[in-house]
């Protein structure tokens, strides 16, 4: 009994510093936001705010109008599309990079990592002005060279969605390729050899050996990426919705929608309530898709 208590104590002591940091930077802000959501803190009550109970939640329900619902749907679609393409592309590319006789693999890998090495806003700015700009962008310069009309790439919902997806994939793929690559290399090659001897084709090997073996290794990264994609703000906001540089599309994720419809009010109680509701929605989604339980044995 005593030994067991000691062992538990040691476990918590060893993981303590990490858990403490998580408590401070991850858990505390959520608790604090929840606290603020119960107060009337705003520009008008900056110092003298008081707890007012659930009023803010009551008001926040009015934000969940049709605009919010369509933003929510768009966000789900956005997450699904991005994750599917990302996983498939990363898997195929990482597999190709692992073909034994590919000599220049290291060079390719490094070059493919480039998008990841740049701060996000720099890349998004480069895409926006360098590629999609309707006057100067490369796309329209090429369209012109082909004798076609210039297109306003970011001004309609569908094409803005596609453009954002392209940029998001460009930003996120390097990480996914790296994770996949590492996972693929951890598979014991003897499994493959015996499978080849048994006459299993590439598809069969992928299905029965590769995917089951890499699944536990990539699961954490994939789950975290799902959340990152779901709460993506920068790509959509900077590309299409930035104040003073909007492009005319109405494609919103829940975060950009909430930003425009609540956070700009500087009413901290009210915005906090909305943050908490969005967070609750994310929890519901992740429990529905059992994201939290995966990787747990």
């Amino acid at each position: 009994m005593k030994k067991r208590t000691k062992s538990v104590l040691v476990s918590y002591l060893v993981s303590g510093p990490s858990l403490l940091l998580i408590a401070l930077i991850v858990v505390f802000p959520i608790a604090y936001t929840f606290f603020i959501s119960l107060t009337n803190m705003s520009v008008y009550h900056w110092f003298d705010f008081t707890v007012i109970g659930l009023d803010n939640y009551w008001r926040a329900l009015f934000v969940f109008d049709s605009g919010f619902l369509s933003a929510l749907l768009a966000t789900v679609l956005w997450t699904a599309v991005n994750m599917l393409i990302q996983l498939a592309a990363a898997f195929l590319l990482a597999s190709a990079l692992n073909i034994k006789k590919l000599r220049l693999r290291k060079l390719y890998k490094t070059l493919l990592m480039f998008p990841w090495a740049m701060p996000g806003y720099v890349s998004i700015l480069l895409w926006k002005t360098g590629v999609f700009n309707s006057e100067f962008g490369l796309l329209n310069q090429w369209m012109e060279a082909l004798g076609r009309e210039a297109v306003r790439w970011l001004s309609t919902d569908v094409s803005a969605f596609i453009c954002c997806t392209v940029v998001n994939l460009w930003l996120a793929l390097p990480f996914m390729i790296m994770i996949m690559d590492g996972a693929l290399q951890s598979i014991d090659s003897s499994y493959f050899e015996s499978a080849i001897l048994d006459g299993a084709g590439w598809l069969k090997r992928t299905r029965y050996i590769t995917i089951p073996s890499i699944k536990p290794i990539i699961a954490p990264a994939v789950i975290i990426t799902v959340f990152t994609t779901f709460k993506q703000f920068d790509v959509v906001y900077l590309l299409t919705q930035q104040m003073g540089a909007r492009t005319g599309s109405n494609f919103h994720t829940i975060l950009t929608y909430a930003y425009e419809n609540a956070f700009v009010t500087n009413n901290y109680g009210y915005s906090s309530a909305i943050s908490i509701i969005i967070f609750a929605l994310m929890l519901v989604f992740s429990i529905r898709f059992r994201l939290g339980g995966e990787g747990e044995t």
Partner: protein, 399 residues
């Protein structure tokens, strides 16, 4: 072993960091945040260091200054002592309770030496919260290589005719940041409309706003699809746009790019007989309450130094700022500066940006409305009703 080593390293790093960071507040040092061009900051920094050698005054450039202020509030450890910004956020920060009334920190009657427009702009609910330094307005600028002075349009219809005749492949007769609230306000004012009234009602004259948007649309169709600064700026600087409406900050780069820059009065709207009236912004120094309380003496000294007419003159000469202090215009160099003079003329028709807290959300509402009408191609009435609802909703949710 390796782990131990890395732990040790980490501990050492932490220690060294703790030693080199940190800050203490002392009554003789004043930190001023700003987000201005380097030329402006340099003039102010040099002037203050010279005029007040007994104090340590630091101008620190802060990106997204207003967002940061909303975060640090009035906390002496995180907040600056003063900051330089346009007057349109005064209401917001005054309601937050972080701005000190400026009049009590100046010698009596000092503000009477300023152009009335600037002190009015700095007043919120009867109290002045800003010592004005200079003001700026948008100006009608043209490239006289393509648009000769006699071709400069006097009315909006003339402008439209010019645009029709001179817009084509890779070439624009006129460009502006058409779907940005700050720029389109000029058109709305030209039709007698307002984005927000003095008592905080959004779009008090709905019809005027709708008319302006409807009329403006045909101009937008002859402009590029982008509304952001870099596109408009580049088109004008590359000589691909003959004219533009832009701020004084465009002037140095235009001169550098070798543009034969001309500045003209704003065109008059044919339908109303009123000129396009842009917003004017008064840039000035704000004092945070904590500094006014704990560093009163230093704050007074800085403010007093900044009231000297030389500051305005130097700013005007360094980067074409129009001084807020009336006597600066007695200076011959300032009086002869074309840019400063045109801003002063435009300021007569310009409307100071509203400084109500509600204006903070109206920027977003207006920008949505403009995007809907100009870029998404939706009907003016429908978009306007939506914007009105959004405005009322956001304003209600501020409290």
């Amino acid at each position: 072993m390796k782990k131990l080593l890395s732990l040790l390293m980490a501990a050492m790093l932490l220690l060294s960091l703790a030693a080199c960071g940190g800050q203490e507040t002392d009554a003789g040092s004043i930190v001023i945040w700003h987000d201005k061009e380097d030329a402006v900051a340099e003039v102010l920094q040099n002037y203050l260091s010279e005029a007040l050698p007994e104090y340590t005054i630091t101008l620190e450039k802060k990106t997204s200054l207003t967002d940061s202020l909303k975060l640090v509030g009035n906390d002496p450890a995180g907040a600056p002592d003063m900051f330089i910004f346009a007057h349109d956020k005064i209401g917001l920060f005054a309601e937050m309770g972080i701005l000190a009334p400026i009049e009590e920190l100046l010698s009596e009657g000092e503000l009477e030496n300023y152009l009335p427009m600037t002190t009015e702009a700095a007043t919120y609910k009867g109290t002045v919260y800003q010592l004005p330094l200079y003001f700026e307005t948008l100006l009608f600028m043209y490239n006289s290589k393509y648009m000769t002075p006699e071709m400069v349009p006097e009315t909006t219809e003339e402008l439209y005719a010019y645009m029709e005749a001179n817009t084509g492949r890779d070439r624009f007769g006129f460009v502006e940041q058409h779907s940005t609230a700050y720029y389109s306000a000029a058109w709305i004012h030209g039709f007698g409309g307002e984005i927000i009234s003095a008592d905080g009602t959004p779009f008090p004259d709905a019809q005027a706003v709708k008319d302006a948007l409807e009329y403006h649309l045909k101009f937008v169709q002859l402009m590029p699809g982008e509304t952001e600064y870099s596109t408009v700026n580049t088109l004008f600087l590359e000589g691909k746009a003959d004219s533009t409406i832009g701020g004084p900050w465009m002037v140095p780069s235009a001169r550098e790019a070798g543009i034969e820059l001309g500045i003209a009065p704003m065109p008059v709207v044919d339908a109303t007989g009123e000129p396009l009236a842009p917003y004017s912004g008064v840039q000035g120094v704000h004092v945070l309450t904590h500094a006014a309380e704990s560093k009163g003496e230093a704050v007074r000294a800085v403010l007093e130094a900044l009231t000297a007419p030389e500051v305005g003159v130097e700013l005007a000469l360094a980067s074409g700022c129009a001084p807020a202090r009336a006597e600066c215009y007695d200076d011959e160099a300032v009086a002869n500066d074309e840019l400063v003079q045109s801003m002063r003329t435009t300021a007569e028709i310009a409307i100071p940006m509203p400084n109500l807290p509600e204006m903070d959300v109206m920027w977003t509402v207006m920008s949505n409305l403009l995007t809907d009408v100009n870029l998404s191609g939706r009907g003016v009435d429908e978009s306007f009703d939506e914007a009105m609802a959004e405005a009322e909703n956001l304003i209600a949710n501020m409290k």
